[in-house]
């Protein structure tokens, strides 16, 4: 199939790529841009491992045609924080044991980031609801919810510190 030129904006960078029209956003991220943090889990859009933010809203990159998302601001897990300055959801996941095998983690981080951006103090029910399209087969979810709670505390503490200084 002939390729076509598309423009994508990912983690603040602008890319121009030649891809066939049937190429999924997930494959473009992983193969063309080398952003392998976004995972292919179930391959039938039911596990959430491929979640990315589209204009701040979490969506599944495995049901998205890359060419359809040219006018959007895309964020993958690589765009959340840096090694030196992890995003609170990333550091809390490490400290509270939210990840075991790690395959679902980037999807969870993306859904959690979107939740906390919209609602900085969600209840446990709201957390569970927001994460209910992300599947984890290792942790049994309890440590994941603990990680989210820790992220909420850290974000609040950082904000308070910022306000005090």
């Amino acid at each position: 199939m002939s390729k076509q030129l598309i423009k994508l904006r990912v983690n603040g960078e602008q890319y121009e790529l030649a891809v066939p029209p049937n190429k999924l956003l997930l494959d473009v991220l992983r193969e063309d841009l080398g952003l392998t943090g976004t995972k292919r889990g179930c391959d039938d859009s039911s596990c959430g491992a491929c979640s990315v933010l589209v204009d701040g809203v979490p969506m599944l990159a495995c049901v998205a045609l890359a060419a359809s998302y040219q006018d959007c601001e895309l964020t993958t897990v690589e765009g959340l924080g840096t090694l030196d300055a992890l995003h609170p959801v990333q550091s809390s996941w490490g400290d509270a044991g939210g990840a075991q095998c790690g395959f679902c983690t980037s999807g969870f981080l993306i859904s959690t980031k979107a939740l906390l951006d919209r609602n900085p103090h969600p209840s446990l029910d709201e957390i569970r609801e927001a994460l209910s399209a992300n599947l984890c087969r290792c942790t049994g979810y309890m440590q994941i919810y603990e990680s989210v709670k820790l992220a909420i505390e850290r974000a609040a503490a950082a904000k308070a510190a910022g306000a005090g200084s």
Partner: protein, 335 residues
């Protein structure tokens, strides 16, 4: 799985979309949120030459907005996302059955992408059909795709693939109409007439037409309503059975008007017509509720289209109908 090859069109206007559909006829397929189309394409269930991505039309606010006025009722653009519908304070307040049903569709990630237009035009589903190309070929195909027989009812020539959408039953209980746009312009059709109850030929939509909006009459605002859904997990999964109820109850607890609709137990979402007749003018009584529940399971014809058994699904239709009616009588009015 891999995607088949196609050309992608991204029309910027409704007129362009209609003309592309008219030019390519059966070779074209509409893509909205893609949560149904893309997995099906990967399974090679369809092989369109042209995929028409209508998402760019969402910029045309009329196609993605939710509008309400006491004179014109509720209008939802076909490209409104499921999340925007179930989180809309207006819909939650005035049309609780719709908010409740949409909140159960798939999971939050799919609802952020999926549109109400796509949900109302969803492909019917069956365990013999929604499988990979390899799986289906090993079986020799089925009536709906590439094969001579239906594995659900091998003697017949009818496809029983189940209607598996959640918003349609809710909208049926609200007397919704849909707006369909084609080369001749826009037309309105009662939602109940859109569904053909045939697993292979599910909806009355021309190849050169698209669904552009859903309308709910103002008189349905403020009714009580709820939705009960059977599925294996409480998130992500499609319905195995579903019951929607809308009811207007007066201050003395008399049901003035009610609708009851089923999903996932026939090739179409269906209103249980007798419920409307039998409930009007009546106070709540266990006998009446039982009678309606009996009629609901007569309307439901679940077959082995899913991993669950027909007996269990039919039984749950009875249980859900009873619960839905009891809840409607008990609950408070919307505003």
């Amino acid at each position: 799985m891999t995607m088949p090859a196609f050309r992608l069109e991204r029309p910027r206007s409704l007129a362009d979309a209609v003309s592309i559909l008219a030019t390519h006829g059966p070779d074209a397929m509409i893509l909205a949120g893609g949560t149904d189309v893309v997995p099906n394409l990967q399974m090679k269930l369809f092989s369109p030459r042209v995929l028409v991505d209508i998402k760019p039309l969402a910029k045309n606010a009329q196609l993605a907005s939710i509008d309400w006025s006491p004179a014109n009722g509720l209008r939802i653009g076909a490209l409104a996302t499921l999340t925007s519908i179930c989180e809309s304070p207006l819909i939650r307040e005035k049309f609780p059955v719709l908010a409740a049903a949409v909140a159960t569709i798939a999971g939050p990630l799919q609802r952020n992408m999926g549109t109400v237009g796509g949900n109302l035009c969803l492909e019917t589903r069956c365990q013999w059909y929604n499988q990979s190309d390899f799986w289906r070929k090993s079986l020799g195909g089925c009536l709906k795709k590439d094969g001579p027989i239906c594995h659900v009812a091998p003697g017949g020539k009818f496809c029983w693939a189940a209607w598996s959408g959640d918003s349609a039953p809710a909208l049926l209980t609200l007397d919704a109409e849909i707006e369909i746009t084609g080369p001749q312009g826009a037309r309105r059709l009662p939602l109940a007439q859109f569904y053909k109850n045939d697993g292979m030929d599910r909806i009355a939509l021309g190849r050169d037409e698209l669904l552009t909006a859903v309308h709910v009459p103002a008189r349905m605002a403020g009714r009580r309503g709820n939705y009960h859904k059977l599925r294996v997990r409480n998130s992500i999964d499609y319905p195995l059975a579903g019951v929607a109820v809308s009811m207007h109850v007066d201050s003395r607890g008399i049901c003035r008007d009610a609708r009851l609709a089923l999903t996932a137990v026939n090739p179409a979402p269906l209103l249980v017509k007798e419920a409307c007749e039998w409930l009007a003018g009546q106070p709540a009584s266990p006998e009446l509720i039982d009678r309606v529940a009996q009629q609901a399971i007569r309307t439901a014809k679940p077959l082995t289209t899913s991993g669950s058994t027909p007996v269990y699904r039919r039984d749950m239709v009875r249980v859900f109908t009873r619960r839905a009616l009891e809840e409607s009588w008990r609950s408070a009015d919307g505003k």
